[in-house]
């Protein structure tokens, strides 16, 4: 594991990036913006899960405008009427924008904001690993624009935008592996907390699961720091985890499905399917869930990017524990192990009833580690020209895939005739209120403690 100590020097040569390099980043960024614009432009947000998400946003807007504490709903949504106990509701600072914008405009703004932060994460990765920005542009488009996001946002899994923050989390983990200092632990905790704030409850669970797998894979050296990460995440995330644990105590989530086998996983990467696909002879279990639960569409060009990144990582023969953790998470994403684990009634584990969702974390690390190990190896101008062509080809592949997930198509299959009829109401569940107050207190104290520790905590 000694190779994991090898710190990759951060590039201070940003001035060396040429106009063409910046151009590739601009093209990649705008390409992604165009994808999401096309995905949302004609939506009335009334298909699939959008009515539920619009109800959440409508309620948040009402709470902000009336300056009321949003505690009780007039009916259960996601099996609870306790609004602040529902961990998939967006409680991030940008929600304040709802005071000034329409709900539809907020959806656009929130996606644009988180996409931009995610994109900045890939630029940061390029700087950190001294990689030509073109490759960051490619990795960024491969990750932020792939079918995983397009299909899920199309069907109203709005909290999935929290995954746009994953590159930052992965970079923080990379820092932690290089130097498991207190600051590095807090950095991972901070990004986990931000992801949870966006309503990324499932994502928070996966990332902690991945941290646990990594802790087991690395053994001695990183075991304690990674367990500290999980502990810090629990403290910072108390404001969402504890009320949710209270609200859903005893609730059973039936297991649905993972990828089931490697064929489905492969088809998830290259299958250009749209929302209407239900069953296929090779994967009858798909009938349980929609294709968006498998869709990670990269297309051929994205697959080339992924293959090159994975090859560079394997060739470097380093960060083996990270590779092992990715392997373990891939196995879990197939579903059989998670199905067995879901029967053990472990807290929050049974909430992960569609483990194929985990695989995006594996894709993330393949791309990040690929960038890290590509290093100086691919600065040949011919390769750069090839990369530029690949960027355009990839954008086109994703644009084509998007066709099957446009609002008009999704609405054809999954339109709801009615918005959620729900409003705030008065009730008195003292324990719920105490749990909310105490858990927010824990989070605020932990945040203050973490900030203090980060500022003056030193390297240990």
């Amino acid at each position: 594991m000694s190779s994991e100590n090898r710190a990759v020097p951060e590039s201070h040569n940003s001035g060396g990036w040429s106009v063409a390099a910046y151009g590739s980043l601009v093209v990649s960024f705008l390409g992604g913006v165009l994808l999401y614009h096309q995905l949302l432009a004609n939506s009335v947000f009334q298909a699939a899960d959008w009515p539920k998400e619009m109800a959440y946003l409508h309620l948040l807007k009402e709470a902000l405008e009336e300056l009321r504490l949003p505690l009780y709903l007039s009916r259960p949504i996601q099996n609870t009427s306790l609004f602040l106990a529902n961990p998939e509701i967006n409680l991030s600072p940008q929600v304040l924008l709802l005071r000034f914008t329409s709900i539809e405009a907020f959806v656009h703004l929130n996606i644009l904001l988180l996409y931009s932060i995610g994109f900045a994460g890939w630029v940061k990765a390029a700087k950190k690993f001294s990689v030509p920005p073109l490759y960051a542009a490619l990795a960024s488009l491969t990750f932020l624009g792939n079918g995983y996001f397009l299909s899920r946002i199309a069907v109203g899994h709005f909290m999935w935008v929290s995954c746009f923050l994953f590159p930052w989390w992965a970079l923080a983990i990379s820092d932690l592996i290089e130097c498991p200092s207190r600051k590095a632990i807090i950095k991972v905790g901070f990004w986990s907390w931000l992801i949870l704030l966006q309503g990324g409850f499932h994502q928070f669970i996966w990332l902690n699961l991945f941290a646990l797998l990594l802790a087991l894979a690395t053994g001695g050296r990183l075991l304690v720091p990674l367990l500290k990460v999980i502990g810090l995440n629990a403290l910072l995330g108390a404001f969402r985890i504890v009320p949710a644990a209270y609200a859903y105590a005893g609730h059973k989530h039936p297991f649905l499905t993972g990828f089931h086998d490697f064929t489905t996983l492969w088809l998830g990467l290259i299958g250009d399917y749209h929302v209407g696909i239900t069953t296929r002879p090779w994967a009858p279990h798909i009938a349980k869930v929609g294709w968006w639960e498998f869709d990670h569409y990269l297309g051929i060009p994205g697959l080339i990017v992924l293959a090159v990144c994975s090859w560079a990582w394997m060739k470097a023969k380093t960060d083996g524990s990270l590779a092992l953790a990715c392997g373990l998470l891939t196995l879990l994403s197939l579903g059989q192990i998670m199905e067995w684990m879901s029967k053990l009634s472990l807290p929050f584990v049974d909430a992960e009833r569609v483990p194929s969702r985990f695989f995006i974390v594996v894709l993330l690390f393949c791309l990040i580690m690929g960038l890290k190990h590509l290093g100086q190896a691919m600065r040949d101008p011919k390769l750069l020209a090839l990369g530029a062509g690949l960027l355009v080809w990839q954008w086109w592949a994703l644009w084509t895939h998007l066709e099957g997930w446009r609002p008009e198509i999704v609405e054809r299959f999954m339109m709801s005739s009615t918005p959620y009829l729900v409003h705030f109401t008065e009730a008195d569940f003292p324990l719920y209120q105490t749990v909310v107050a105490a858990s927010w207190g824990v989070t605020l104290l932990s945040l203050a403690g973490a900030a203090w520790s980060y500022k003056g905590g030193g390297e240990k």
Binding site: Q46, L82, A85, A249, S416, T418, L421, S446
Partner: protein, 221 residues
């Protein structure tokens, strides 16, 4: 600070032991067949949790035993609108909440009374004026209907000019009234701009148009 997680754990344990639920109706007296939109404040419900209407004298029973007495019911999971229908017979009734289909006890209940209206509804009516609506957006359509209508009476969009007898075969977005004498349907405006009728039709099979209102559907700006 280390005590805080322990405190939270304690609260959690207490929380599991004292989950509560409430059912409230907006008024205590309803007319026969009137739509009831209750407030249900509860947590930890199963995906098959449900709310049922029972005669008040029905003894408290497990969900399975109670099914023989149910007059109407609704579930919540992935359901955008939650309502039940007041029974046709005047009397005293309960709304009872069950956590799931296997639930052995009632989580919460609320009582209400059904009284015959002083002025019963004499004719079917769509209580909205001719209007313009944007495509693909839903909107509320209040209605009234005399008691005794077929369970498959429906209200919905039909292209303007369709023969009344062809209403059912030509309907677009629609909602069954499920025995309601007064309530609000939510109808999705068609995707194609044009002239349409909202029709209140006696049943799937008879297709007698009881009332209709013209609607012009406009393209979204």
């Amino acid at each position: 600070m280390r005590l805080l997680p322990a405190l939270l754990l304690l609260l959690l344990v207490c929380g599991c032991a004292s989950n509560r639920a409430m059912v409230k109706t907006e008024k205590s007296i309803y007319q026969p067949g009137e739509e009831i939109r209750p407030e249900v404040i509860a947590t930890g419900l199963g995906d098959t949790s449900w709310l049922g209407v029972f005669p008040a004298e029905t003894p408290p029973q497990s969900a399975l035993e109670a099914t023989q007495h149910i007059l109407d019911f609704t579930t919540f999971y992935n359901k955008s609108v939650v309502f039940v229908v007041a029974p046709a017979e005047p009397g005293h009734y309960d709304l009872r909440l069950y956590g799931d289909e296997q639930e052995v006890s009632i989580l919460a209940s609320s009582s209400f009374e059904v009284q015959t209206a002083a002025q019963p509804i004499s004719q079917a009516e769509i209580l909205t004026s001719p209007t313009e609506r944007p495509t693909r957006l839903s909107f509320p359509v209040p209605f009234r209907l005399p008691p005794g209508s077929a369970p498959t009476a429906w209200i919905g969009f039909v292209p303007a000019g369709v023969e009344p007898s062809n209403s059912t075969s030509s309907r677009l977005s629609f909602e069954y009234l499920k025995g309601r004498t007064r309530g609000t349907a939510y109808l999705l405006a068609p995707g194609d701009p044009g002239n349409y009728d909202i029709r209140l039709v006696s049943s799937d099979t008879q297709s007698q148009v009881l009332d209709q209102v013209a609607v012009r559907v406009m393209g979204n700006p």
